[in-house]
Amino acid sequence: MMGASDQQMMNDLADVVRHHGICQFLYREARLQDEHRFEEWEALWTDDGLYWVPANGEDTDPERQMSIIYDNRSRIGLRIKQFFTGKRYSQMPASRLRRVIGNVEVLSDSPDGTRVSANMLLYESHRRGQIMWAARNEYLLREVDGQWRMAFKKVSLVNNDAAMTTMAFLI
């Protein structure tokens, strides 16, 4: 028979395993972006996905104020298709990218999905120079057929209130 403390340990272990799975998903998402694996990245989105990179702070209203990216699912698809034309010159040649995802926190669970936040640090090498990008990312993740999917991703760049160089790669 399992005692109360054993049950607690099982619950804790389940949390750790789940947290591990979420981290693995975020790391994979990051790697697909770094390596410009556009189709695989697009497949991580749910059908109602929303991709938001705000400007001028983290708490603007994207329905009223300009954002750097505010893509619904169909516009995410358009963004990906543009890369495949062979004429998206701002990514020809593509930026060389590597990013680190850290400080992963599971914030809450709701019927709509699991809210997760993380910090992101990205190094870009492009013909214009070497550029560091840093952001707090927020995600709404959902399990679909046993796989995590993104329903929402918000990238709050630390310098989003300042002038920024072109970032046509996937952030």
């Binding site: 001028n56 603007t60 004429k87 701002s90 002038a163 920024m164 072109t166 970032m167």
Partner: protein, 427 residues
Amino acid sequence: MVEVIAEPTGATRERHDWPHLVQAEQVHGSIYTDPRIFEEELLHIWQRSWVYIGHVSEIPNPHDFVMKSIGPDPVLMTRDKDGQIHLLHNRCPHRGNQVSEKPRGNSRTLTCNYHGWTFSIDGSLRGYPFPSGYQDDKRKELGLGKIARMGIYRGFVFGSMAEDGPSLEEHLGGAKEAIDTLCRNSPEGEVEITAGFLQHKVFANWKFVMENETDGYHPGFVHASIFEVADSKIGSLYADTSSAVTRYFGNGHSEVDLRPEFRKRDEPLSWFGTSVEKLPDYVSRMNAAYGPEQARKIMIDGTPHTMIFPNLFIAEIQMFVIQPLSVGETVQHVTALQFKGAPDFNRRLRQQTMGSVGPAGFLLADDAEMYERSHRGVQEKSPEWVYLGRGRHRERVDDNGFLIGHVTDDLCSRGMWQHYRSLMEAA
């Protein structure tokens, strides 16, 4: 070619050979990359000519302020208690500290944090701590510096750091009509700048950015990727077969006039890639404001694509403000145009603008890439020139006396350069 001239003081200054650097069909590559030329541009263009600063709707209430710029220099645009607009330097008259560190706000006074000097929102000095330290009252004598001249045309605020010179209306000349046309697309006749700005930095000279704004040759190539996947009709406006024209207004201002194509389509709101059915609220307000016949004409013609020298680009659905930071560094500030009394239209303008512009925009990321490649390219040594001869043989004069050419011609650039040369030679 640079001639070094000895001044009586013993100092030397350089005189550039402008007729050599700026010719009818070509400009010298160094004009984009020589830091000495950039320093002269600051003096003779940015600190002399009329420069677009901001829009009155960005500071709608008394005591509102917003940080703007003239070239690399910050400018505070404020509204006083009586509703008057002021353009101020952000520099304390005491020790030169920057007074406001906020990008925008609302405040009756601005206080310098260094020694507590306090200014009214109109720039006048209201008080300072420990006044007995000064023999007489300094409040009349000292205050925030003012931009020498300010002009407002239909809510668009311009500043000139020169005490004298042509009036704003003289400067705008034919380009005034572009602002009028723009405002007519609002059922209340007013533009509002309320959606906030993206700031896109490029490592390129500001003149590459300015020239590209009314270059109708590049869209079919640079933007082929998005036209293709978005199934856009925009590409055909810039085709060899297009009836659209480029126009030079004088004083450096130019436009791409797409109306001949839109009039052929004869469909209201086709210019915006939509139809009257999709924006019923806007259409009914336009009909009520102008009468159905006039409203229909306005909605067929659409909004202008006009570059007001040296830094305001009205780009149909958005507005860009060009800010040079150094010879090889430029920021484009961009926002969606918003029309007073048109909420459903405005929402689509914001959506479309966000997709198109800024550092990740479907259009502007690729434009920015071209500015930067041009800036690197002109530093190569041969050929030394940038060639601007396209369409010179087919320039003609329109009914208003302005030079026009085919939409893909270099006419706008040629005009900008002749104006540029006249400003630099006047030095």
